[in-house]
Assembly symmetry: C2
């Protein structure tokens, strides 16, 4: 950390082979955006694409665009573009619905497989610190199924070994924790689950486009995730779903809408699922939002997850070291693992006045976010975050803390922070 | 029908008080669009709104737009705008997810209510001619629940009386049939269901914005529907869901994502549903598509469903009479009821070569659609369909039939027709 300066960061940016990619994103002036892990920035291309979908495809093409503009095939086509980012292959991923809905589908599918293999397995194991909606969906499904289905939560990953016992049907985990930024060992935990007879469901919301993921290499069973964070698909853009080929045609999922039918336009009263991943589709998709996902994915095609990961770790390393070096007098506690193998692409510090600190930072143009309890969270998106921004953000943080501005009344009122 | 001419239709358009509303829609030249019952036309306002959401709200506002641009509240705000069109009240409707997903929620909710009231009721009654995805969703739910849940289909509405017996939990019907255009008696069938101890789920996909609907007046229990047909919300725009106030807080639904939580940002691991209709929300919504729904709803605020219904019936009356008068030599059979009380806002004719006839019409710029088996379907949207267009469309139909052009090879190949 000796002699680290802003000039040093400027030099890092000059030498950064990924730096030109930033030009493909619209980033407002006066803002250092460290919340791409919550809502990714807008690719410039999205403006023209939105206009094309609305004016040309909807306005002029009208109903003909379901075929002529490729709307009907878009969930599959986007899935194929996304697949390489998560270690999946062609025809294995569809982009559709929300992460919550897709989680319901794969959990129900996994429980049905277990019902056939070993009916005594009726427990979903997860972490109490998992993203809440994942837990809510699992609770909702268990409550719907009745018959003894339930959710078992552990407070720490070290307890998983004991929790995955003979009644465990599914191990449901988020790969990178939304709060702490801790990344779990997907390969090791999948191996453990399989050795105990359980299937695995991986939520990649904070992983896809953020860290290298190899679903096939990890022998994972099901995965879901969102496209509006690191993949820069737009606000609330539809989510994705993947299933291991060995399980794909065997399974059934209960949200069996017409888009998953083998012959949707035959209008048969009886559901007959299509072959492959298409059976994860359900209802008609929101085309304007869906189409914009492609603009984000197209940027990834110009680099590699290995290159992005290398820069991501350098950004988060730099941020951790600068905060600890330049804000060391303040009660900030690093929550994110220092170990690269256990770190995603965001960094969280706990602070007793975490909410007010984040609010004061946002007022000063440094956009991170707050998560209960007391966590200030900062996302680093190597496609568009620069090393100099890391420096500047830490300087603003230092000033907010040194001056104590965050203690002013206007930062105490809790608004909704997403 | 004496002396009906194109000039007569021109005069009807001149006298039509709704005619100016057409100017608010983008309709491509050279096209007579009679498929607004499948995908509504684009309100002009949608182009600017899409640009605003993508460039300003996403691009500049970034994560702050969840609060500052009202994204988080949008499902409720749009629900309140939509409510008057279906006889619902403030805070009773949310716009979210897809019709299929919303149907799953309300069916599960209704079955749970029945499980508490009368556990022997485990049958969902519907029509075999209901829109297939509704039947598929009911099948998927029954298959998920097991424990004897099942779907019972009747082939004709006249059989419903016998089908709604002591084991019937839910009567699930689509108010206006997607194929025939027949409108069911919502009030009478709801009364019948209630008298037999069943709850009702009404699919308003072909009703909302097409015909007056009075959910409170009919004492309906649950309703769902789509916004991309007569409501002109855009391709695949999110759907809506309504529940009767008496059932709202009592119920539970299994797609319990974080948007339905009483305190979503408390990030509690335990699901606790919010009060009211908000508990029908699940995951993060596709904001660009969702925002455009408002452009369609804003047009409805300038007229009334009574005025729209009056024009709709005049348009469908005119179409039926002109087809029968001017194409009477051809084997066209009216499928839609002549009785106003039983007719929605589209008209279907069966023809032995229905597919080819529709394909030939589309080539000539008259866009209707085809539905198995042998049905040519034409939607009339009083917001933007003119009487002269009805005349012109029938003239094209007459020419296609008289010349036999539809028998040419290129119309025989079945592409996908949505």
């Amino acid at each position: 950390m000796t002699a680290f300066t802003r000039e040093h960061c400027l030099a890092l940016d000059r030498e950064d082979p990924l730096a030109p990619l930033r030009e493909q994103f619209a980033l407002p002036s006066g803002v250092i955006y460290l919340d791409g892990n919550s809502l990714g920035a807008r690719p410039h291309a999205a403006t023209a694409r939105a206009a094309e979908v609305v004016a040309a495809e909807w306005g002029n093409g009208l109903i003909r665009s379901w075929n002529d503009a490729g709307w009907f095939d878009l969930p599959r086509r986007l899935g194929n573009k996304l697949a390489p980012l998560i270690g999946a292959r062609d025809d294995e991923v569809v982009v559709t619905d929300t992460t919550s809905i897709n989680l319901f589908k794969v959990l129900a599918a996994a429980l049905r497989v277990q019902q056939q293999r070993d009916p005594a397995r009726r427990v979903i194991v997860s972490e109490s610190s998992n993203f809440p909606t994942d837990l809510y969906i699992a609770q909702g499904l268990a409550d719907l199924l009745q018959r003894g289905y339930s959710l078992r939560l552990v407070d720490d990953p070290s307890e998983l070994d004991a929790a995955i016992d003979a009644d465990c049907a599914v191990l449901m985990l988020t790969h990178v924790n939304y709060k702490s930024g801790e990344m779990l060992d997907m390969t090791g935990l999948t191996e453990l689950a399989h050795a105990r007879g359980a299937l695995t469901v991986w939520d990649l919301a904070h992983s896809a486009g953020a860290v290298p993921v190899d679903l096939h290499g990890a022998h994972a069973d099901y995965a879901i995730g969102c496209t509006y964070k690191y993949l820069n698909g737009g606000p609330g853009s539809p989510a994705f779903v993947w299933v291991a080929p060995a399980l794909r045609d065997a399974f059934w999922q209960p949200l069996s809408g017409w888009w998953g039918h083998a012959a949707p336009f035959a209008m048969s009263p009886r559901y007959r699922p299509t072959e492959g991943i298409g059976r994860f589709l359900c209802g008609t998709q929101p085309m304007t939002s869906l189409a914009l996902v492609e603009c984000g994915l197209d940027v990834f095609a110009q680099t590699s997850m290995a290159a992005l990961r290398e820069k991501s770790l350098r950004l988060t390393d730099l941020f951790i070291r600068l905060v600890e070096h330049r804000c060391g007098d303040h009660p900030l506690k690093l929550v994110t693992p220092r170990d690269h193998a256990r770190r995603g692409s965001h960094v969280s510090f706990a602070h007793p006045d975490g909410y007010a600190v984040v609010a004061a930072l946002i007022e000063r143009g440094v956009i991170g976010d707050y998560r209960e309890p007391s966590i200030a969270r900062f996302g680093f998106t190597p496609l568009y975050t620069s090393f100099t921004e890391v420096w500047d953000a830490v300087e603003v943080l230092r000033d907010v803390l040194d001056t104590g501005v965050y203690r002013e009344d206007r930062f105490a009122v809790r608004g909704q922070v997403t």
